[in-house]
């Protein structure tokens, strides 16, 4: 077998091997299953009650429930992708990745694939529970386009997660705080609980760099008729699709740069300080 074929085989094996614990172990650990469901659900309930306190039309409850389901993905990207190499360094796994005959890209892709699968199940549970509890209904004709937009959004979001993982490689205690700090501002900028149009052209335009913003808005437009339009769903989908190669390239470049720097400065093995 030539080197190229052997490299591809190793790359694929790495993806499967790293995805496996994400799918299997994440469901074995019951407390994680509970958190993954409880965090977005409790947040969703709170925002639903805010709208009820404001006597908002029922349609807005649908915005919140969909936002709550997508929140599960952003939390996953932050904590299980962005901060993951930091945890791995602390428990000694990162140095094993570095000396194994595979690449960090394979490890990251495996993490992303496994996390997408697991979080999709949890996000669907949040959507189902929220929709049933608050009587939210969706346009049937929008389900198929929404599924397509959802897959594109996930791909872009997890490419962003890979970029964050490489950036966080240098952090130790800060990784936890950075993930924590990025949580709420992104909830705001991505319009998790309100239509993105309400942010205005400039803030909404800048927030569009987060794949969640346009992806969620496009899904709302096709599933919840009457959603205030920021951009047309087609244009939003196109923009999200363009973010996939963009973030993938940035993640690759950043990972190469950060890995070289981390090797030089001994950061691949130094634990928290």
């Amino acid at each position: 077998m030539n080197d190229r074929a052997e490299g591809a085989r190793l790359f694929l094996k790495t993806i499967v091997a790293r995805a496996y614990p994400r799918v299997v172990a994440a469901n074995r650990q019951k407390s994680w299953v509970f958190f993954d469901l409880a965090f977005p659900l409790v947040g969703t309930f709170a925002m639903v009650f805010v709208y009820e306190g404001l006597h908002a039309p029922k349609q807005f409850l649908g915005f919140v429930v969909m936002g709550g389901a997508m929140l599960a993905f952003w939390q996953n990207v932050l904590w299980s992708m962005g901060a993951q190499f930091s945890w791995d360094r602390d428990n000694g796994t990162l140095e094993l990745y570095a000396i194994s005959p595979t690449t960090f890209e394979g490890v990251l892709l495996g993490m992303a694939v496994g996390a997408m699968f697991t979080t999709t199940i949890r996000g669907a549970a949040v959507l189902l529970i929220g929709s049933l509890l608050f009587g939210v209904s969706y346009s049937l004709s929008g389900i198929l386009p929404a599924a397509g937009i959802f897959l594109l959004t996930l791909a872009a979001l997890y490419c962003l997660g890979m970029l964050l993982a490489s950036l966080f490689l240098f952090y130790s205690r800060e990784a936890w705080h950075l993930s924590n700090a990025l949580q709420e501002p992104v909830n705001f900028l991505s319009g998790l609980y309100f239509p993105v149009k309400a942010l205005g052209a400039y803030v909404g335009g800048a927030a569009s760099l987060i794949p969640l913003t346009l992806g969620l808005d496009a899904m709302r437009q096709v599933l919840l008729p009457g959603t205030p339009r920021f951009l047309s769903p087609g244009l939003e989908t196109l923009a999200v699709a363009a973010q996939i190669p963009l973030f993938a390239f940035l993640a690759y470049s950043s990972l190469r740069f950060m890995e070289a720097r981390a090797r030089r400065e001994g950061k691949l093995i130094s634990k928290w300080s």
């Binding site: 306190g53 602390d90 949580q183 501002p185 705001f188 239509p195 942010l199």
Partner: protein
């Protein structure tokens, strides 16, 4: 050298406060820490402001509700820091820094150490509360004037609430020591309290049984009093039929209940932690 018990307690308390402050803040530069500390409450406030604007269109007659949202969000930082961050801090002391057992062995009553750690969290939350209120007052033109605040009422309400929050979070953190992977439970509890506190919506919006449960929590009365102390009748009230004194009485009773329940829970959890070796148990960090 013989140190008087009171002096030793004070030294232990202040050391715990300093330790809590150092662990919370020395991972970065002070300026970045301030930005970090206000990023979350400011973002939450912005989410609520946009939601409010989307529904009300910023109508003048709904502005009392905007004040309700902003003050609730600002003061929520105390509960978030006091419950969620505190619980994570104690679990970190055990699992990551491996020093909880030394604090437990020190010639100082363990609850004093815990109160000190919680005090540092509440102190750092105070800066965030102030900044959110100032930013909201200027940015949203809320009718808040520092000269018109009823500081006496605000101070008494906050003091009682802090006692309740500390009693709750100390008992909670002792219970959480039983878990190897329990660092997220503090945040979950804070989020659940968020639902029951009237921080961002009146508790009357909750379904009947949940609204009753919320009416037993000191947090709802505390937030009501902070709003009244700051805006005197120019803010949406959750208990319009109750006078300030009646709300204060309910806060005092609910606090006393929380402290009594928290103390009993602490004693039980402490005995169990010693018996089962939770104080120095290896945990997932």
């Amino acid at each position: 050298m013989v140190v008087a018990p009171a002096a030793r307690t004070w030294t232990g308390f202040t050391t715990a406060v300093r330790l809590g402050w150092a662990v919370s803040s020395n991972w970065t530069r002070p300026a970045l820490f301030v930005i970090y500390a206000v990023l979350r409450p400011i973002s939450t406030a912005l989410i609520l402001v946009v939601m409010y604007n989307v529904i009300t269109g910023g109508r003048g007659n709904a502005r009392t509700y905007l004040s309700f949202l902003i003050i609730g969000t600002a003061f929520w930082a105390f509960v978030n820091e006091g419950v969620s961050e505190f619980a994570v801090g104690i679990l970190e002391d055990r699992g990551r820094f491996k020093m909880l057992k030394y604090a437990y062995l020190a010639p100082l009553r363990f609850p004093i150490f815990l109160v000190g750690r919680a005090s540092s969290k509440l102190t750092s939350a105070a800066a965030s509360v102030l900044i959110v209120l100032v930013v909201a007052t200027v940015g949203l033109r809320l009718p808040i004037s520092p000269l018109e605040v009823n500081y006496g009422l605000l101070a008494i309400a906050c003091l009682l609430a802090f006692i309740a929050v500390m009693a709750f979070s100390i008992a909670l953190s002792m219970i959480l020591l039983a878990g190897r992977d329990a660092y997220g439970y503090g945040e979950i509890m804070a989020q659940v309290l968020y639902l029951f506190s009237g921080a961002i919506f009146p508790i009357a919006v909750l379904p009947g049984p949940l609204a009753f449960l919320a009416s037993l929590s000191p947090l709802a009365y505390w937030l009501e009093l902070t709003r009244r102390a700051i805006l005197h009748g120019r803010v949406y009230e959750m208990f319009p039929n109750l006078s300030d004194g009646e709300v204060l009485l309910r806060l005092a009773l609910a606090t006393a209940g929380t402290v009594a329940l928290g103390y009993l829970t602490y004693l039980w959890a402490d005995r169990r932690a010693r018996r089962k070796g939770y104080i120095d148990m290896d945990a997932n960090f």
